[in-house]
């Protein structure tokens, strides 16, 4: 406690300062205690056996496993298969991100408040209560759909679509597209809500209609960010596309799944290398596109 805290200050009574400080200190103690409790609870619940992991046997097991991976199987058939799988994964992620953009663009204009019912575009309209509510409906619906799409993980979407359309890469595309559509929709909506109102206002003052404002005032502002977010999500998706195969949705994941299940260590390493190359290539491609397009 510093000396200053006790002296009469202009901001308030000294005792109040004192009490505030005590409360905040109590709160930080409380937070720390809660964190420690959470940690202990989690530690016990997740059946961690560090002793077992770092015992000679555990480490030995891992070491044997890792040793079993080397050297990678570079025979022609395996490499060709890995390359084919990588290509398929690329296709899944590419179509997935396109589908996601389509879904997001379909929903996002309803899911941003300033385009649907409030703000600059609507300040002149007489705001009847019912009218306002009616305008909020599509907003809430679009938000709800986006939330739903986003909350169900890709993997679960993949399970569902494998059931509906059968095995193969197509359910992977659908799963990625739908989940990422939800994510992109949320990100796009945030971009749209943070749009700079000045161009809109000047367009409005020239008598432009709402569609014109959208096309000339809003889209030019948000498009670069849309592209940038899309590329970023693509980088995430390529990783996800690679593992969707675990539930039967094709690509590298399927091959990795088989290789791990059958203890084909050397092939597994080849596939992991292919995955690494693919992910890195997409990262570079997306960085390049970002530089060129923006």
């Amino acid at each position: 406690m510093s000396q200053g805290g006790w002296q009469q200050t202009e901001q308030g009574h000294p005792w109040e300062v004192h009490r505030d400080e005590r409360r905040s200190r109590l709160r930080s103690y409380g937070t720390v205690a809660a964190l420690v409790a959470l940690f202990i609870w989690s530690y016990r619940g997740s059946e961690i056996y560090l002793t077992r992991l770092f015992s000679e046997e555990g480490l030995g097991q891992i070491l044997v496993y890792v040793k079993g991976l080397f050297p990678p199987d570079l025979s022609r058939g395996v490499v060709a298969d890995a390359a084919y799988g990588a290509w398929e994964t690329f296709a899944i992620s590419f179509l997935g991100i396109l589908l996601a953009v389509v879904i997001a663009l379909m929903l996002v204009f309803f899911a941003s408040r300033n385009l649907v019912y409030s703000g600059l575009l609507y300040e002149l309209e007489e705001s009847g209560r019912w009218r306002h509510m009616l305008r909020m409906l599509p907003y809430l619906a679009a938000k709800g759909v986006l939330n739903f799409l986003r909350t169900v993980p890709e993997m679960v979407w993949a399970l569902i679509f494998v059931f509906i359309v059968g095995l193969g890469p197509f359910p992977g595309v659908l799963a990625l597209g739908i989940h990422t559509g939800g994510v992109l929709g949320k990100l796009f909506a945030e971009v749209l809500e943070n749009v700079d109102p000045q161009p809109i206002e000047s367009l409005q003052s020239t008598g432009a209609g709402k569609v014109q404002i959208l096309v000339y005032g809003i889209m030019p502002q948000v498009l670069p960010q849309f592209v940038s977010y899309t590329l970023y999500r693509w980088e995430v998706n390529i990783r996800m596309a690679a593992v969707l195969g675990f539930v039967g949705a094709g690509g590298l994941g399927q091959r990795i799944h088989i290789a791990i299940s059958l203890f084909l260590g050397h092939q597994l390493l080849t596939l992991l290398i292919a995955l690494y190359v693919l992910v890195t290539a997409v990262d570079y491609l997306s960085a390049y596109l970002r530089k060129r397009l923006l």
Binding site: T31, L38, F39, W41, S42, Y43, G45, S46, E47, I48, Y49, R52, L53, G58, Q61, I62, Y65, W87, E88, F90, A91, I92, F94, L95, L98, T151, V152, P153, M155, V156, L159, I160, F163, I164, V165, G166, G168, P169, F170, G172, V173, R239, M240, A242, V243, F246, V247, G250, G253, I256, H257, I260, F263, L272, L275, Y276, V279, T280, R292
Partner: protein
């Protein structure tokens, strides 16, 4: 001149053509067939799934049965994030060029000593390579490999999240560390503070807010991830989702998705609250 350059640039055409080729090729390769949903078989499966989901299974036996996996999901995410920080923080420190081999903290020591410089650079390079290896392999693959190495249960899930997220955290941490303002560090140095003092009084306060908020963000992701890692046998809700899906008990799937939704929303709220405290 800029305008002329832009007009002669072939980039838009090349990009457009490549895009179309990639689209056509991917369309074929991914066996895209939107008609599946209209065909009888697909329609029936879709209907079976949708109608099977309702009503969700809210029976007491099922709900009490999934309490344990739900809690386990939370526990996996917390421990996984802890391990990720334990991996990511030191490697992130080593992977920060301004802390390891260049910048104001090191300029006096490294100058003129090529050996010292290259030693430090190789340390930096190794840390970066390790991080990139950790994060390049998806947590799913890690989980599957750890299941093989340490057996079924939540533990492989913890390790998988720890390693994969450790790689991601480490990379972002090093970016945070690199964006530290050198002004306060220099000021401290000029008063004669040693490295540890500079670290605690000049450097640490600067990184703390970003550090905490990014870690929390990753924890949110970890909740999601740990919920599905169960698909490969790493405990948590995912295992149950897969079982229900494979048994065609879609009303259970809906319940599980509802629980997952609540879990993720709760994690979002908590981390937003904590971030607000900062």
């Amino acid at each position: 001149m800029d305008l002329a350059k832009r007009q002669t640039s072939l980039f838009p055409y090349v990009f457009g053509i490549l895009f179309l080729i990639a689209l056509a090729d991917s369309w074929q390769r991914a066996e895209v067939n939107p008609l599946v949903f209209v065909e009888k078989e697909g329609r029936e499966a879709l209907w079976k799934f949708l109608s099977g989901m309702f009503p969700p299974d809210l029976s007491w036996t099922f709900l009490s049965f999934i309490v344990r996996p739900t809690l386990e999901t939370v526990q996996i995410s917390v421990m996984g994030t802890c391990i990720a920080v334990l991996i990511g923080f030191p490697l992130g420190l080593l992977g920060t060029s301004t802390l390891v081999f260049r910048g104001i903290l090191n300029e006096a020591e490294v100058a003129g000593s090529a050996v010292r410089w290259s030693l430090r650079f190789s340390l930096y390079f190794l840390a970066r390579a390790g991080l990139s290896l950790f994060r390049c392999i998806p947590e799913f693959v890690w989980a599957f490999m750890f299941v093989r190495a340490v057996g079924l249960g939540p533990f492989p899930g913890v390790l998988a999240i720890g390693v994969a997220y450790g790689g991601m955290l480490g990379k972002v941490y090093s970016e945070i560390f690199e964006s530290v303002h050198t002004g306060p560090l220099e000021a401290l140095q000029s008063t004669g503070a040693n490295k540890l003092q500079i670290f605690f009084y000049g450097w640490f306060p600067q990184i703390l807010p970003n550090f905490v908020s990014y870690t929390l963000y990753r924890w949110e992701c970890a909740v999601r991830a740990s919920a599905i890692l169960g698909l490969v046998g790493a405990g948590g809700l995912g295992q149950q989702i897969e079982i229900s899906m494979r048994m065609f008990n879609f009303h259970e799937v809906l319940t599980l998705l509802g629980v997952l939704f609540i879990l993720v929303a709760a994690a979002d709220t908590i981390s937003a609250k904590v971030r607000g405290l900062l």
